[in-house]
Symmetry: C2
Subunit: 303 residues, 2 copies
């Protein structure tokens, strides 16, 4: 890996952030992303872009950040504990979109490059990322579309990548204390460098540019569906699971809160705009609400 | 410590739960606590009492639980790491009350006894607990009253207990990632046995029975104050901090989620009913909202 490679990834991530924001603004049809540029005292900077109170998107954030650290925390790489303590840099785009309509799912995507210095050696680098979707009401065709794009975007890269990263996604986005999946999954990969830099970066680009193709048609189908107060309440209730996952399990969030690396408001922009915790809620048997957890939130083959 | 001592603590805690629920129902004036009795497969049981959508209390839970475990987790005792892995029993009452009116503060209290077995030795036991208050709008007289009761209830027990446990409370209920206190504090103690069983239990009784005396007059003063939509929004926004604290830092909650000890719905009944996360909210300088964090949520001597 050379310096020009890091520059190329940075350029890609910045233009990814731009095109995703532009596509989402178009889909929203009313609000625009607001931009906060920030610098980190200890090295690094970021561009946080947040859209609030749109016609379609109630709250959405698309962050770019590039941070430098003197000692890599153990949470940064599960697969390479021997690198803990090394100097590193990390850059990535991370986004969470919470639509207003309860029939439109929340989506999350993240694409990042880690580079860890090794003295007298080539730097160690890897990519991580993926995208996943969290519906509040299930629609078979949405799940199939989402996973079809995920599968197509893996095509032509490593053997069995779709199946491998689909399963990893199901494992990762799991609320252990609820024994529930956070959503219907998608792709999740980490510590990826086995294809060499050029091919791995190509894979990341393929998946990353697939996000809008996966998400927009679903939002377009759902954003104007009429809904009642009870649908909205259920969405707010289910968003509680999202908050629980992000605050208790998500590696990036927990790392950010514990380490002080990164900007708190940018890390926590992933939290839903309005959340409801209802004690011991039980969905009516046979209802759409019950089908969500019984059918949609179980790992399954969608394509 | 003898078996009859454990029985006495259990009786006290059950009657404490009853009297607190009765007092809060009286203060609410409309709703009643609903009771769920539950048993734990691996040993132990609990009584969860929850009040929702009352005239005054939007959501409140008062839990009793008594659980047995084969191997004490490290999170159970910071001060006695050598006991990790021992068989134990834990019983306690834990409560969180979220009033509807933004001018009425949230309150939390917890009183618990831990007993860890040591082979061929007397069991090791200690009490923990305390109470603390989280206002959304500050009122000097409420803070003074709350801490006056806290101080009075410590009187006649260990030397400097109020000041020691007041400071411990300020340290414990601190959101590191926000560099903010959760509320205006109160009392927090743990690993307490230095006075011997009888006196320590007496101290716990003194504080525990002081909770209603501390909280009710404040709720009574605030529950009917007129408020606007913007006050309500700010309350919902600040409740986000409560959720962040409980899910990220609270020892009992994190222990419950990670260990599978206890009942998830009972553990998470502490989470607020409706929460709002607003990206990069900034209170207007000089406003009551700004005064909350600038003045009230800084550790200070209230009495």
């Amino acid at each position: 890996m050379e310096v020009k490679d890091i520059t190329a990834v940075k350029q890609f991530l910045l233009s990814l952030q731009d095109s995703i924001c532009a596509g989402l603004e178009e889909e929203d049809g009313s609000a625009c992303f607001h931009t906060d540029q920030w610098d980190r005292e200890k090295g690094g900077s970021g561009i946080t872009r947040v859209l609030t109170d749109g016609a379609t998107i109630e709250k959405g954030g698309v962050n770019f950040s590039h941070v430098f650290g003197e000692a890599m925390p153990a949470t940064a790489t599960a697969a390479r504990p021997e690198l803990a303590g090394r100097a590193y840099q990390a850059m990535g785009v991370s986004l969470v979109i919470h639509p207003r309509n309860p029939f439109a799912p929340t989506s999350h995507a993240n694409f990042r490059l880690f580079v860890a210095e090794k003295s007298h050696e080539e730097p160690v680098w890897w990519f991580g990322g993926g995208f996943d979707m969290t519906p509040y009401y299930g629609f078979e065709e949405d799940c199939v579309h989402w996973h079809s794009v995920a599968r197509d975007r893996c095509h032509g890269f490593g053997d069995g990548y779709y199946s491998k990263f689909k399963n990893w996604c199901d494992e990762y986005f799991h609320l252990k204390h609820r024994n529930e999946s956070r959503g219907i999954g998608g792709l999740f990969f980490d510590d990826l460098n086995e294809l060499g830099f050029e091919q791995t970066f190509g894979f990341v680009q393929s998946v990353a540019t697939g996000y809008l193709e996966a998400y927009r048609p679903i939002v377009a189908r759902r954003k104007n569906m009429p809904f009642e107060e009870n649908h909205r309440r259920f969405q707010e209730y289910r968003r509680g699971r999202y908050a629980e996952f992000n605050l208790v399990y998500d590696r990036g969030t927990v790392f950010g809160l514990q380490s002080g690396v990164g900007r708190i408001e940018s890390i926590l922009m992933s939290l839903p705009p309005v959340v409801r915790w209802i004690y011991d809620y039980q969905a009516e048997p046979g209802s759409e609400e019950e089908k969500l957890t019984r059918y949609y939130l179980k790992p399954r083959d969608w394509v």
